[in-house]
Amino acid sequence: MKELSLHMLDITQNSIRAKAKLVKLVIIESAENNEITTIIEDDGCGIPADRLQKITDPFVTTRTTRKVGLGLSLFKAAAEACGGYFEISSTVGVGTKVVANFRRDHIDCAPVGNMADTILTMVMSFGETDLYYQHDYNNQQFVFNTREIKETLEVESLNEPEILNWIREHVKEGLEEIMEEKIYGKVLSRTKSDSRKEIERT
């Protein structure tokens, strides 16, 4: 996977198959601690202990369409390849939690990637399942919760182009806001046009 966000998109699909009602996605990026931590937690059916032991073995899957299960194996490999760690815990009937940690400046650490499009794709693929998304970037926080959106709109499903477009822009802008860096009292915005201007200047 080219982006950590694609791993996350993939892992959340497991939660959907586990009939989760709520998926929590928390991303913590910290320059200070030089790490990126992603936590995906659901209230799905859970995984029995005997299966959990072998869950990151690529040759273990509950699928019937093919004999390999790569999602968790790839995520684990990605974390461990850049000096991080991977943990999975689960309780049958309660839910599953996947934690992956990455050393931020490791040469093999993929970028977090396009979270706006990832959240959009999650919402489109989640059906009735709700998503709580929290992104901490150097102690600045952005939170997006589909339950709030559904309550505001008084709708059951957010799978409408108009709403989806709003969600995509909302997440994009929210993340740009927390990723603005304040250096020497000046705000250095990291938007595309700005970096283009910087390139032109140099």
Partner: protein
Amino acid sequence: MAKSLAELKAIREKKLSELNLRQGKNGYRVVVGMATCGIAAGARPVMVKLMEEVDAKGLVDVSVAQTGCIGSCRLEPIVEVYDANNEKVTYVHMTAEKIARVVDEHLAQGKIVDEYTMTVIDGKVIDPSVKG
């Protein structure tokens, strides 16, 4: 934040009834393969483009959902289009550009884009590139 909740509420005020209209009962149901294989092959840009195009063309009777792996990972990203009679057309090796054409021709005009479809002959899956 520019994309405020107020703006979201405006969407709601606009057409609450219209929002509930999209049941896809008379129209097309589009399903995108979103297992590890699909995502790694590029399902996300296909999904995003699909939303953009359905919106741009104002297709109110099209619904979009995801599915797992159907076992033909090498043909991902795979998009299945079901019509009102549940007849299925399977598009393989999809990209953002290809899905835009499928929306324009298949979903808007009802013409299947043959050159992107998968064919099964004697139980074997035939790649569109081989078929052509």
